[in-house]
Amino acid sequence: MNSFEPQSQDSLQRRFHQDNSTTQQPRDTTTPFIPKPASKNHNNSNSSSGAAGRSFQGFGLNVEDDLVSSVVPPVTVVLEGRSICQRISLDKHGSYQSLASALRQMFVDGADSTDDLDLSNAIPGHLIAYEDMENDLLLAGDLTWKDFVRVAKRIRILPVKGNTRQVKRNE
């Protein structure tokens, strides 16, 4: 059982009050593979929660997205077998498809953009996995994009080995 400290409770109450005066945020779908283009306005990104709440009233902006994107650091991308890693800012992408495209350009020489690109074929012969906040290794794509951005700490690109059972995706 977790109990909130009085300060946190005050924060919750203030947030509740603010939320009552703003528009309801759109409902997230739980389908991981449908691309959801994000229209973030980074010019209005503001780390002060009080000011953000007031200035965003009536604009329909997703306040939480802007708050998160201003503080979430880029994550490390590791290709199995390579010693030099790369970095990627997940908040600059709005979908798994966008991430797949970036990874392909990162790791596939002479890569062209293809229409049917997704995580399963971004890098031929490889699976896109990630380590979460508990250092567990998980296949990318099961969570909503927003949840993925929130919990992914590191992205690992692993070869599909012949002696390992292929992990199927939900379709």
Partner: protein, 158 residues
């Protein structure tokens, strides 16, 4: 849309049937939904993402307030011998049968509840006390409240 309704229904049913205190159960369930992990990991979770504590409290509060219209219960699923796990939203299933069917497809293997045998993988779960249990031993709604993680164990060999 249909999926969301199903999720809300399950969540409401669970709350009504087992916990009379609305505010306490609400907070408890929200935390449970937000951090589906065992207690020893709790301290580590609080450190990610690396944002100021006030902002983290604000975001946590927003998640609590949004719980009602965006219910999901993602848990991790691992199969023995496979290093990469999956995330699965248990709220989209109506019971054990549909869960097993989905997992069998996801991992391309035959999975059962209950007694071990030599042909089928057996589904187990880690409960909120950190114990590993056979799936199917309690009603589905109770299972949703106590499950933290799933593991598909190998067929037993003699």
């Amino acid at each position: 849309m249909e999926v969301s309704n199903s999720c809300s229904s399950f969540s409401s049913s669970s709350v009504d049937s087992t916990k009379p205190s609305p505010s306490e159960s609400s907070v408890n369930l929200s935390l449970s939904l937000t951090f589906p992990s065992t207690s020893p990991q709790r301290e580590a979770r609080q450190d990610w993402p690396p944002i100021k504590s006030r902002l983290r409290d604000t975001l946590k509060g927003r998640r609590l307030l949004r719980r009602g219209d965006d219910t999901s219960l993602f848990v991790k699923v691992y199969m023995e011998g496979v290093p990469i796990g999956r995330k699965l939203d248990l709220c989209v299933f109506s019971g054990y049968e549909s869960l097993l069917e989905n997992l069998s497809h996801m991992f391309d293997t035959s999975i059962i509840c209950g007694n071990r045998d030599r042909k089928h993988h057996v589904l187990t779960y880690e409960d909120k006390d950190g114990d590993w249990m056979m799936v199917g031993d309690i009603p589905w709604d109770m299972f949703l409240e106590t499950v933290r993680r799933l593991k598909i164990t190998r067929p037993e060999r003699y």
